[in-house]
Symmetry: C2
Subunit: 489 residues, 2 copies
């Protein structure tokens, strides 16, 4: 035990030690029945006399904090707890800490859901989430696989892995990608802690503070937060129902000399649109012409309900212009935190080095379990089942919107992915609607969260149709309709 | 399947599709016995006629790449594989990729060990590792706990967790810390992907490129790599056998106005020294006086073999000047990648926000399992057992050095931790010794890796005494002695 004691002050050592232990016991940090170190051991640890420790423990015993049992030791007694204050009020905060003003930041989906749960509605329904329905996932099957991986690999499953990721998993990912239309090598795959870390690494490696990044407007809100926190200038590219308006891109490239184009071409977050085929080729040509790398975020690119498949940008890219980011988090198990980057050329080694510096490697155990779980066959089965289930949910949401929301709402029907992007009737702002909706027991993501300037898009909102069962979708939209009528009144 | 096809070029579509699949089959990305999509499905996916797919598959069949089984589908046949080349040689690398020259970087411990294994010695012995002996860890017990956690929590174990970490684990960490002499609250604990991510987050939040950071010289090599990659100016503080020479600190603070002091006060990496008590208090006073935060890396602070315990800097810090980093990786299970930050004041929220932007959260499943595993009692038992085992190993290494190495080597006996820091006789450089040592079947970390300027410390080397069983330690040092005699000749 490394108790801080000070020999230079007047307070006797036994009192200092007693005071330290008293604070730990009263705050609950040393819990009831914890055995305190033996006299001799603690005396030795702290370099004091045995009598000092005996006196300290006697002090605690006299205050009813501990009891000693002959021949067995000294034990903490149950207490009415006085938690330590989070911030020591008397403490003088160091000056450098005062720079850390609380930043203004948008709510995350889980914070929005807290808002929803605070409404005390008996059956709250959230359309705010950014992921698919985890209840689809066969957790029992995964548990058994995890078990057999640990039996098989023993201690190796708990050792450091290579920074680029577990080799068989990287190989397995190339098989899944090939079965979906993207051919690459295991040496071009870099395992990351979810796609968030993948985006983070690419941004870190390719840009410096004040560099310019082009993003679709709107785009994934946490990417905006990230790029802002890294000090980049973020410029939006307008979108329409065919995705990014690539015809407006060239002027932006000439004007801003960006260091990166970040795009979600497949079932875009938040709009659900899919970039058209001609625009895909044009985008790659422009990126080549202006020497700007593309970061393709393919978070649910395989989750298609109808229409023709669009190849990923990476599959169309002959020269290593595109860095591709995929994930198992959004579709399979978000809590595992496993995503990956596919990159060609020298940038791969730079990304790998930054991965190593960021966190050395992603959990070996999880990677080994995922490798054993995610075969091409299982992935396709899961994809097929999810597509069927989510298509149905989308249809129910579309029907419900038509039935229960004012006819003036505007939206496109997404052909894949997780989201419906909906424009409210004139004069209604999503952020104003949100508290009323939560009161009715339903939540969503306000559209302005997805814009670089969050004064834009106030009349839009994002609904996740994939995360709730069919019966809750209709009910949720009914509630949303009620909330909207409440606003007009 | 999202096969890229181009309707604007002359090559017929069936040939384009056939060529794509052929490449995937020959490179092994589509493995033998994989079932290709049904005609109708792939035709629909790609928006082409069914006949186009039939022709494409017929082309593949004529080349012996697939076979079709009536009423069942088309399957990939086993092939002699031609792996895809990692870098498409004909491809023109984008200009922006050319900025990514291969950086000069020191070897990691695992790269050094590859060097060792290449020597083809029948029984190689590595003293290069930066962690303790994972074979100590009861992996079976952990497997059972993981299993019961998954049974208990089901799908919740696989969902996103909070960015600050699983609350019961944060609470449990405060109990362990209190039992070791540091009192804090669960709200001040932030779970990270190992201590590497913790250092990364603190560096990101507190410094900008070109800012100055003070570090002990020598210090943890991956921290140097990280600070350099983030564009900081790194200034070394000299050390002696009592740790950082704090009396030289004030001048450096006045001269350089650093934004952070990074220190490993307890069983320092690589030197094994422990910062003396008066220096601890002086360090904190100086940091307060000059308004510089301290990052305390306590990677093995509890792993003491003798002498008195020194309180962590954080335990001596009344005002939130010290940000504390701890880990379960080095002592327990490195592959799990779980560490933590303890921070007071507004900087906590900033660190949390950066954690969220970096990777959203650390794997929930691993956190839940760790929470169920790491009780105060288990931690102390593990610590006790490890201390006993590693003390013995240290003693064997010290005896072996005295017996088998030239009497001119210089080293202090560490009172805890993992490392012996050893100075070679005049004129022998560790990097020159390394290949000879590997040939004899033993490895170590050359000392210059741990210096800001890696021209310094060439005559030093770091030996990990904790990672090998007793019988290999003596043998390893015998081999090292042989290699040293080989150099003199």
């Amino acid at each position: 035990m490394r108790i801080p004691i000070d020999r230079e002050i007047d307070t006797p050592l036994y009192q200092q030690i007693g005071a330290y232990l008293k604070k730990a016991i009263l705050s609950g940090k040393l819990t009831a029945d914890t055995r305190l170190p033996a006299y001799r051991q603690l005396a030795n640890d702290l370099g004091v006399n045995r009598a000092t420790i005996e006196n300290a423990y006697a002090l605690l015993e006299s205050e009813g904090l501990v009891f000693s049992r002959m021949g067995s030791g000294t034990y903490v007694l149950p207490q009415n707890l006085f938690p330590l204050s989070k911030q020591n009020k008397e403490a003088t905060l160091p000056l450098w800490q005062k720079n850390f003003q609380t930043e203004e930041s948008t709510f995350t989906a889980s914070q929005l859901d807290e808002l929803l749960y605070k409404s005390k509605h008996p059956h709250p329904i959230s359309f705010a989430s950014g992921i698919s329905d985890t209840r689809q996932f066969p957790s029992d099957e995964f548990r058994k696989i995890l078990q057999s991986v640990m039996r098989r690999d023993q201690i190796s499953a708990l050792e450091y892995g290579e920074s680029n990721g577990y080799a068989p998993l990287r190989e397995g990912i190339t098989n899944i990608l090939a079965s979906q239309g993207l051919q690459t090598n295991a040496e071009n795959v870099l395992i990351t802690a979810g796609s968030q870390q993948a985006i983070f690494l690419v941004a870190q490696v390719l840009l410096k503070p004040n560099d310019i990044i082009l993003v679709e407007s709107p785009t994934y809100s946490v990417a905006i937060d990230l790029f802002r926190a890294l000090g980049f200038q973020i410029i939006g590219i307008p979108m329409d129902s065919q995705g990014m308006q690539v015809e407006k891109l060239e002027k932006l490239l000439q004007q801003h000399h960006p260091k990166l184009i970040y795009t979600i071409p497949n079932f875009h977050n938040p709009t659900g649109t899919c970039l058209s085929s001609p625009r895909r080729r044009e985008l790659i040509l422009l990126a080549e012409k202006y020497n700007v790398p593309i970061l393709e975020d393919d978070f649910v690119g395989d989750l298609r309900y109808e229409g023709h498949a669009q190849p990923s940008l990476k599959a169309l890219d002959p020269n290593g212009q595109v860095i591709y980011v995929g994930t198992f988090s959004k579709m399979l198990m978000p809590g595992l935190r496993v995503g990956f980057i596919v990159a060609d050329g020298p940038v791969y080694d730079r990304l790998l080095n930054f991965k190593r510096l960021s966190d050395l490697a992603t959990s070996t155990l999880i990677q080994r379990a995922l490798d054993a779980y995610v075969t091409v066959g299982r992935y396709q089965t899961y994809l097929h089942r999810s597509s069927q289930a989510f298509r149905k949910r989308r249809d129910v949401m579309v029907d419900s919107i038509r039935k229960y929301l004012p006819s003036k709402v505007v939206f496109d029907i997404p052909t894949g992915g997780l989201f419906i992007w909906l424009k409210l009737p004139n004069g209604i702002f999503a952020e104003d609607l949100l508290p009323l909706a939560c009161k009715e027991g339903v939540s969503f993501m306000p559209g302005n969260y997805f814009f670089v300037d969050n004064k834009d898009g106030k009349e839009w909102l994002r609904l996740n149709f994939a995360s709730q069962p069919v019966e809750d979708i209709e009910e949720g939209i009914i509630r949303l309709g009620k909330a909207m009528r409440g606003m007009k009144a």
